[in-house]
Amino acid sequence: MDVMPKWAEVILVPLISLLLAAILSALVILAIGEDPVAAVKLMVSGALGSTYGWGYTLYYATNFMFTGLAVAIAFHARLFNIGGEGQATLGGLGVALACLYIPWPHWSLALVGATVMAGLFGAAWAAVPAFLQAKRGSHIVITTIMFNFIAAAVLNYVLVNLMRPAGSMDPATARFPEAAHLPTLHDMLTPLGISFSKAAPANVSLLVAVGACILLWVLIWRTKLGYEIRAYGHSESAAKYAGISPVKITMVAMLISGALAGMMAINNVMGEAERLVLNAVEGAGFIGIAVALMGRSHPLGVFLAAILFGFLYQGGAELALWTSIPRELIVVIQALVILFTGALDNMVRMPLERMFLAARMRRAPKPDRKPTTPAQ
């Protein structure tokens, strides 16, 4: 039986894990001769102290919502998609094609078109590993990693040989036309009388990401498909008994996952860079893993964790700018979050369970009230 109440499992365990990761990160900062308290202050003021900082924090958070949801939906089907990086790379290609080769009359239509293309390209890139997992049992963790490397090579080829404007030395596409320009938070908030930094890249994609969180929540917890995905994730043998096809669920979950990762491109490629460059994803696909673990694969959790990582990312950039702490600190924090929430979770959970058990024993001196016996 559950020893811990649900709120402890859902809130306490991730929070303590985060705290442990924070303490270790502080030690790392100390070890390289910097002051952790000053570093946190700098991060907070840099990421949350101005609408400029918020604009970047939310911009990064938008990326991480998409990739975090991508990892989360795969987790529900007990699939580990480490290929968000490659899927987002391909999503960028889809966005670039949509923006450069279709004459959109208005940004809103361009956004819809680009979102569809980004999703399609991302899903297509997830389809091969998904198919190989479903049909041939190829380990999806390794195949998706390989597809990240292959995606980088594909993008390199496309940018250098196919989409580079004539005469340009830069491996990047041409700028997207004006009609494909997405309104930033500045553009959206000014009519409402709220002043927001003009320079920050946060844009309307944030709303798409929030919408994706809500839709995914409905999908996972309210639809028949979500019921089947979760059932398959809990027990493949039971899913088979119930007539839920493992092949179908693996494919569908991975296609949704790839599409979500790909859709990130409407934010970074269409909303920010407004052209496709090499390495546009910048590790956001990997951060999605930490976000999904931190958010316990729940869309609300992913939303909150994405904002937390947006803050860390922007704060980390500020640190790199003003101190000798390199940006890689964020990779270390990300690693620690993944470690504590995903792999060492029992280290946190076991003492907690003992505490709750002891507390309950004190309250109810007669413990044998359950018919359940885990023994035997």
């Binding site: 390794i142 490397f149 390199p326």
Partner: protein, 324 residues
């Protein structure tokens, strides 16, 4: 077309060099996975070892101290993986992913702190590197047709770590199939309950295996930074840990097959560096991006099982929980 041109002695020579870190990492994974612990953190362990070996070699001027430091760093990460996946029965895949990121971040962070060269170590020279060893009679036998150049170019002239790596193949075989430790190690990867009820510690065995994995990854990383290249650069492992895993599956977790599999990948990496030879052999130009991606594509093909079905150790990836 002239396919024979693809078998160029200098390409084969770099095949051996490039296969060495793959082989060491592959054998490292073999020990770990044979004991039932999946390890996708080979990449991170190699990377950490590469950095610390290069850093210590740069500071002390001794490549041997560097090697020790590399092994120590890799072992520390192994310990972490063991803690997560053996002691606390966590998710082995996620632990491996975390270790890869931890190594990727920490190496640059520390490199920047120690050397301020944008995440690299200073270039190594002299005693800071593993130099090639000329084997006995290599010079004298050089004139012998066929075997002379083969011995001189291909077999002689590598660094000591290359010979260590190749010697580890029969070594691993012997340990696994001829010793008590090997019997228990294989058993714990197949059915840990059998080992446990026989009164042998599952935890101890698995930590030993993970430890060996750490040492071998340490040597692999040290070879990358102090043998193959002269210093550490950011993300220098470039997916070798994952390729080693693919080779391990291709090799069906057997030492001799691991040798052939990693030589194949080593060859692909070596030939990718020589587009001129490929063009000469095939008669047309091959995109450099395709050549770069070739090892990864081959990995996918192997995993897809087009080269035979691989059955992993039965208890692999699952934490051991006592049950009656």
């Amino acid at each position: 077309m002239d396919f024979l041109a693809l078998i160029d002695l200098s390409v084969l020579d770099s095949t051996v060099r490039l296969a060495t870190p793959l082989l060491l990492a592959c054998l490292a994974g073999l020990f770990s996975e044979r004991a039932g612990i999946f390890d996708i953190g080979l990449e991170g362990k190699m990377l950490a070892a590469a950095f610390f070996s290069a850093a210590v070699a740069a500071i002390t001027g001794s490549v041997w101290l560097g090697l020790l430091a590399g092994i120590a760093a890799s072992l520390a990460l192994s310990g972490l993986h063991g803690l997560a996946s053996i002691t606390f029965r966590g998710n082995q895949l996620i632990s491996g992913v975390a270790i890869n990121f931890l190594a990727a971040g920490l190496t640059v962070l520390i490199a920047q702190d120690w050397f301020s060269q944008g995440g690299r170590t200073p270039s190594l020279f002299g005693g800071g590197r593993f130099e090639g060893i000329t084997l006995p009679f290599a010079e004298t036998l050089r004139a012998v047709p066929f075997f002379g150049p083969l011995y001189y170019e291909l077999i002689s002239g590598h660094s000591i770590l290359v010979y260590v790596a190749f010697a580890m193949v029969p070594g691993t075989w012997w340990i696994l199939f001829r010793t008590r430790f090997g019997l228990r190690l294989r058993a714990v990867g197949e059915n840990p309950a059998a080992v446990d009820t026989a009164g042998v510690s599952v935890v101890g065995l698995r930590f030993a295996a993970v430890g060996i994995c750490g040492i071998l990854c340490g040597i692999a990383g040290a070879y990358l930074a102090t043998g193959l290249q002269a210093g550490f650069v950011k993300d220098m492992t470039a997916g070798r840990g994952f390729i080693a895993l693919a080779a391990l599956i291709f090799a069906k977790w057997r030492p001799w097959h691991a040798l052939w599999a990693t030589l194949l990948f080593g060859y692909l990496q070596a030939i990718a560096l020589r587009p001129d030879i490929i063009e000469g052999a095939l008669g047309f130009q091959v995109q450099v991006q395709l050549l770069d991606a070739l090892p990864y594509i081959l990995t996918v093909v192997i995993l897809a099982g087009f080269v035979g079905k691989a059955i992993p150790p039965r208890a692999g990836g699952a934490p051991y929980v006592k049950e009656r």
